[in-house]
Symmetry: C2
Subunit: 139 residues, 2 copies
DNA sequence: AAACACCTTCGAGTGTACTGTAAGGCAAGA
DNA sequence: TCTTGCCTTACAGTACACTCGAAGGTGTTT
């Protein structure tokens, strides 16, 4: 049984990207498409998996340029596995650092929300260590 | 003892923004500055705290437009506290959702790194539940 | 006197990742 | 036949948040 083939419109809906974006990614060398006798693009399950993966990478914060580089290395074969691993490791480190930073900022925001609640209830009573720093942000 | 006053250049270094950005934020209504007799901007500790706070808000993912709205509400007084609280709560929810999503993408990336390591060591042995899904991304 | 830091308005440039349009053409289905 | 969906190249437009430069000015410091 031959694998199902999807034309760009159907494929776009499947992977959640626009046809514009799919052609754009192809221009950029991130994805490949096969063509039928009329030159019309078609995609298979394999392409769904690949697009799924690059969306995961993008979701971690990887940029198109980095993705391009990654794809280029991948095309060069197994000898570049070490380098690819290092790329992913770096992306991972950066993403984790950004998440921590964002969580720190969120702590301040949470504290402000709490402060609003207390102010509304006229029952301000706070003795956390964090308190001194945070008080500076309240009028 | 009068509070120290900072001109824009010094202040920019203190808060980690460029003088361009400070004037831009002022144009946008995010910050205010006092002026000396010659019309030269100066800032005080109070402004350091305020800029610190808006940088925390920005750090959670809040956009300039939202920040503008927040500042406008703040200027309207305590009657808008409820609305401000809701704004912050929404930003918090969005930020937490984005963090979770990013962590999910990171899990895939981590798995790929692990897969590279195993491939390099020729000892692939993996029996996690997650495994079936993730295998789809490896060539 | 020259250098320096600041002031103004206004508009152009930067980077990222798309998103869309124009203008022309092909092939299959109702 | 007409519509729909696809194809191409090439370029303009969008959103966001700056970032910078021009061109003219003031006041303080060396």
């Amino acid at each position: 049984m031959a694998e199902k083939q999807y034309r760009i419109g159907e494929f776009a809906k499947l992977v959640g990207l626009s046809t514009y974006t799919l052609r754009y990614y192809e221009d950029q060398g991130l994805i490949l498409s096969q063509r039928d006798d009329n030159g019309v693009r078609f995609y298979t399950e394999h392409d769904i998996r690949w697009v799924g993966f690059i969306l995961h990478l993008k979701g971690t914060g990887m940029r198109l340029n980095e993705l391009k580089r990654y794809v280029k290395l991948r095309a060069e074969g197994d000898s570049t596995i070490g380098e690819r691993r290092e790329m992913l490791q770096q992306i991972k480190n950066e993403a984790e650092a950004e998440i921590s930073e964002r969580q720190m900022h969120l702590k301040v925001l949470e504290h402000k929300i709490k402060w609003y609640d207390e102010k509304q209830a006229h029952t301000i009573d706070d003795s956390e260590t964090f308190h001194d720093y945070l008080q500076r942000f309240h009028d």
